[in-house]
């Protein structure tokens, strides 16, 4: 249960909000690099943290992320002409460069220098790992580029997709660290989905559907361990990483790719679900790339030309009651990604957490909220939130078999640090 003020504090991320400030101190994924495929390509509207922005790429290939609206009379620069190192508003011809600086106001005499007085708000936008990352915080606090392993391995080892989700970012994140729903909501898919099937670890999962849980604070956020019995009195551990504010990494299965999510607020009632799959030491197979493109694993198929899932609330997520009855899917909705999104959207845009009844297995969620709230307090005293330190980003999830008395933060210490070229710990 959260009181209304606490719920507001964690779910509101617009300009000037404390949680919005935490997001703004990080590089956040804004769009896929393929959305701006070449110099002078059409601009793309992006809404991030309740701010309407426009992403574009100028004549020299410089990325720009500027206020969406022309400073003159406020039309959307989405109609702009991307030409000669700038974006020109088609209404009265005002022109802006990639920093948002106005460089031409045709109606004013050039000598007046009027255009120097006009500048659109703009944010740094950089490419890493096929993703364009935005930094929307104070310039003096801009951190070095993201160090997440999945964006820094060679391109043939990593793939990322995004989709829109019609609910607040926090209820999506809570689903991401809630290990206890897997045995229910996703029950049908573990042994059939091409991105999961065949791993030895799956057997431990399916033979023991009531795992023991362990929640441990990590430098950047949390380790969430689910423990099941393995052979010879050992434990099979699946350790999920959460790094503040919104990065998760799901434990691997066998030699499959490792995957996880970011949930980035568009506004307080919608978010972007970013889903990555990568392998630390090998290229992705063609079959894996095809599976991702085909909406398997944690990915979904989207309506061509958009990032909206094909299964969405307008078509009741194509719920199939016969498949539900037959046990093919647990909720009637097909695919991991949409199983999660559909139940999370059904909670309403921002769920009222004063009505929930959490239980002991929800300690991962309770601890995540506790750490966010504690961090917001610490930020009032000028502290830097966890997750910005690059060491906090060089992490891995793990699936390991360990002796019964070992703390996994010790026994799996090496496995949970990303080291270039080192194979992941996985069962």
């Amino acid at each position: 249960m959260l009181r209304k003020e606490q719920n507001d504090l964690l779910t509101q991320t617009g300009p000037g909000t404390p949680m919005g400030r935490m997001f703004r101190l990080n590089w956040v994924p804004a769009l896929l690099a393929e959305e701006l495929p070449e110099n002078e390509c059409p601009p793309v509207r992006v809404k991030l943290l309740s701010e309407r922005l426009l992403a574009w790429r100028d004549t020299q290939g410089r990325y720009a992320l500027t206020d969406e609206f022309c400073a003159h009379r406020g039309i959307s620069l989405w109609f702009g002409r991307n030409e000669d190192n700038g974006l020109r508003c088609p209404y009265h011809g005002w022109k802006y460069d990639h920093t948002g600086q106005c460089i031409d106001v045709p109606s004013e005499p050039e000598e007046s220098g009027f255009c120097k007085k006009i500048k659109l708000k703009s944010y740094p936008l950089i490419e890493r790992g096929g993703i364009l990352w935005a930094y929307m915080g104070p310039p003096e606090l801009q951190p070095p580029p993201p160090a997440w392993e999945f964006v820094n391995v060679p391109r043939e080892q990593t793939i990322t997709t995004k989709r829109s989700q019609e609910c607040n970012w926090l209820q999506a994140l809570e689903g991401g660290i809630d290990s206890s729903h897997v045995s229910f909501l996703h029950r049908g898919d573990l042994n059939t989905d091409p991105m999961f099937k065949g791993a030895k670890g799956n057997q431990y999962n399916l033979s023991d559907s009531r795992p023991f849980f362990e929640v441990v604070e990590s430098p950047g956020g949390l380790y969430i361990g689910a423990r099941r019995n393995a052979e010879n009195g050992n434990y099979y551990w699946r350790i999920t990483q959460w790094v503040m504010p919104t990065f998760t990494m799901i434990p691997p299965r066998g030699d499959h790719c490792v995957h996880g999510h970011f949930w980035i607020p568009m506004d307080d009632e919608n978010c972007w679900t970013w889903s990555y799959d990568y392998h630390p030491t090998r290229s992705l197979k063609e079959s894996e790339v095809n599976a991702v493109r085909g909406g398997k694993g944690i990915h979904v198929t989207t309506i061509p030309g958009t990032f909206r899932p094909v299964q969405n609330k307008d078509n009741d997520y194509l719920v199939d009651r016969a498949a539900q009855k037959a046990g093919k899917t647990y909720s009637g909705v097909l695919g991991f990604g949409m199983q999660d999104a559909s139940v999370q959207e059904s909670m309403g845009p921002v769920v009222d957490r004063s009505k929930e009844n959490l239980v002991s297995t929800d300690n991962g969620i309770i601890m995540m909220r506790h750490r966010l709230l504690r961090t917001l307090k610490a930020m009032e005293n000028g502290e830097t939130p966890p997750g910005i330190d690059l060491a906090h980003q060089r992490v891995r999830s793990a699936a390991v078999v360990l002796p019964p008395d070992q703390p996994f933060k010790d026994a799996a210490k090496e496995a949970m640090i990303a080291k270039p070229g080192v194979a992941p710990a996985t069962v």
Binding site: M1, L2, E166, C167, F212, F213, E214, V215, V216, E217, E269, K313, D314, N315, D316, Y317, S342, E345, S346, M347, G348, P349, V350, D352, K355, N357, L358, V359, S360, T361, D362, N363, I366, M367, R369, H370, L373, R374, P404, D405, Q406, P407, K409, D410
Partner: protein
Amino acid sequence: MLSESARMSSAAEARFRIDAPNSRPRTIKVIALDQPSERVIKDLAQRQWNSATFFTATAFGDAPRKGESFAGWLSDLAGRTKNLVEEINGADLVVMVAKAGENAQAASIIGEACSLKRVMTTALVLGGNSISDEVLSKTLAQLRPWSLMLVIASAEEYIADMLTALRA
């Protein structure tokens, strides 16, 4: 026509969620396993709780031998002896609080009683982040067999936050 899911998941519709209680208070027993945890729990007990009660198992260092009764193995914070089995009998959740590095052997007695009565157990380890893994591992070895959920927290305030989240 708008699908039912689209209509029903809007903010406007969320206002019509029934505003009636959907649960009754749960009975939660919080038990300190060692002296440092007992101090933390004593502070905690000063606050307002719906249904949480606080105990200590520190006064009874020696575990009852097989066949010996659990009676009188627990005490409340005023030092009055309590019957462990009776206390656990009516509980929805037992929370054991331990300081990393302290002796947590009481966990096995409490845990056994809980598993007998089919009561859910959670263990909270305090100070686990500031102690060597070797020491922590001793505490974990004592707690793990008896805790369906185990949390290693750095801030004492976590216990209060957790109890509030559980509507204790």
